[in-house]
């Protein structure tokens, strides 16, 4: 027997994904509720602009709604959603003038009030990196992906990914040297 919509939040994700694949809107809404924070944080690290990040995160979920019937393995929903998020971000970069956007985002993120000081510093430092370097760094440090996975997701050569991460890490180390010895967070998503 299928769970009632108000009990979806208790169900295992694979089951909820299976229901969403059949066109169940309540099940899909539950998936959005579960994954929104992760995808929004990922997009925020990518673009350093909370409003744009939320717009892009919405696009990611819309893409997911359009294509969820094509998802063959419900237990791979997270990885599939991450792939959609990265492809949405890459599409956004292709459609927009990267230099102009980088400048606008730099201005925009300075005015944001709902971030922690550490988060703001990190995003400011990330904004100084080129788009591809930033994406590689975010996928490595935020998502914990290995170089080969990043190369596969971004369609960049493995050597390029490695050099982007090396250069990006060096740059961030310089800019964020004040945070050396920061204690780890007690709880992270």
């Amino acid at each position: 027997m299928l769970p009632a919509p108000n009990h979806y939040h208790q169900g295992p994700e694979a089951l909820v994904v299976g229901l969403a694949r059949t066109g169940d809107r309540d099940a899909f809404a539950e998936l959005v509720r579960r994954r929104q924070s992760w995808i929004r944080n990922l997009m925020r690290r990518c673009c350093s602009d909370t409003a744009l990040a939320d717009d892009l995160a919405q696009q990611v979920f819309l893409q997911a709604w359009r294509k969820i019937s094509q998802l063959r393995q419900p237990d791979r929903f997270g990885a599939w959603l991450k792939r959609l998020a990265i492809s949405t971000w890459l599409q956004y970069l292709r459609k927009n003038d990267a230099l102009r956007d980088a400048e606008e985002h730099h201005e925009a993120h300075l005015a944001q009030q709902d971030k922690t000081s550490m988060g703001m510093d990190l995003d400011q430092a990330l904004a100084t990196l080129s788009n591809t370097v930033r994406l590689c760094i975010v996928l490595s440090y935020h998502e914990g992906l290995i170089h080969a996975e990043i190369a596969e997701l971004t369609k960049l050569p493995l050597g390029t990914v490695k050099s982007h991460i090396r250069r990006g890490t060096q740059r961030l180390q310089q800019l964020l040297s004040a945070y050396q010895g920061t204690p780890p967070a007690e709880e992270s998503l």
Binding site: R25, F28, A29, V32, R33, Q36, S37, R40, N41, R45, D54, A57, Q58, F61, L62, W65, R66, K115, T116, M118, G119, L122, D123, S140, Y141, H142, I146, H147, T169, L172, Q173, L176, Y179, Q180, G181, T182, P183, P184, A185, S188, L189
Partner: protein, 109 residues
């Protein structure tokens, strides 16, 4: 096996910068956009259906004419009979459309 090391300070910074974002209106905004998407899709399908219904007869006539124009004149032999389904302007157009669709899917999928 290669060991990929990450800078521990940066790792900590990324972990600490992660916020548990409250959903507030996010989910309802996404779901309202899925409604719009569904409505637009339905309107598009109805429009396409109407257009096809209106153009069905002229399209059928045109397809019949195109299927009867041979690409190469092979005379009246058995080869003509065998190649008849492919040896027409209509089949060339069909193959062209299928090829374009495959290229389009490969580029944009």
């Amino acid at each position: 096996m290669t060991q990929e090391t990450r800078d521990t300070t940066l790792q900590t910074l990324f972990a600490n910068a992660e916020q548990d974002l409250v959903e507030e209106t996010f989910t309802s905004q996404v779901m309202s956009q899925t409604d719009t998407l569904k409505r637009n899709k339905l309107i598009g399908r109805i429009g396409l259906g109407l257009m096809l219904a209106l153009l069905a007869l002229p399209l059928q006539d045109m397809a019949l004419v195109l299927m009867q124009i041979p690409l190469i004149d092979l005379g009246d032999g058995w080869l003509t009979q065998i190649l008849a389904p492919l040896n027409s302007v209509g089949s060339l157009l069909s193959l062209g459309l299928i090829g374009m669709r495959m290229v389009f899917r490969r580029i944009f999928a």
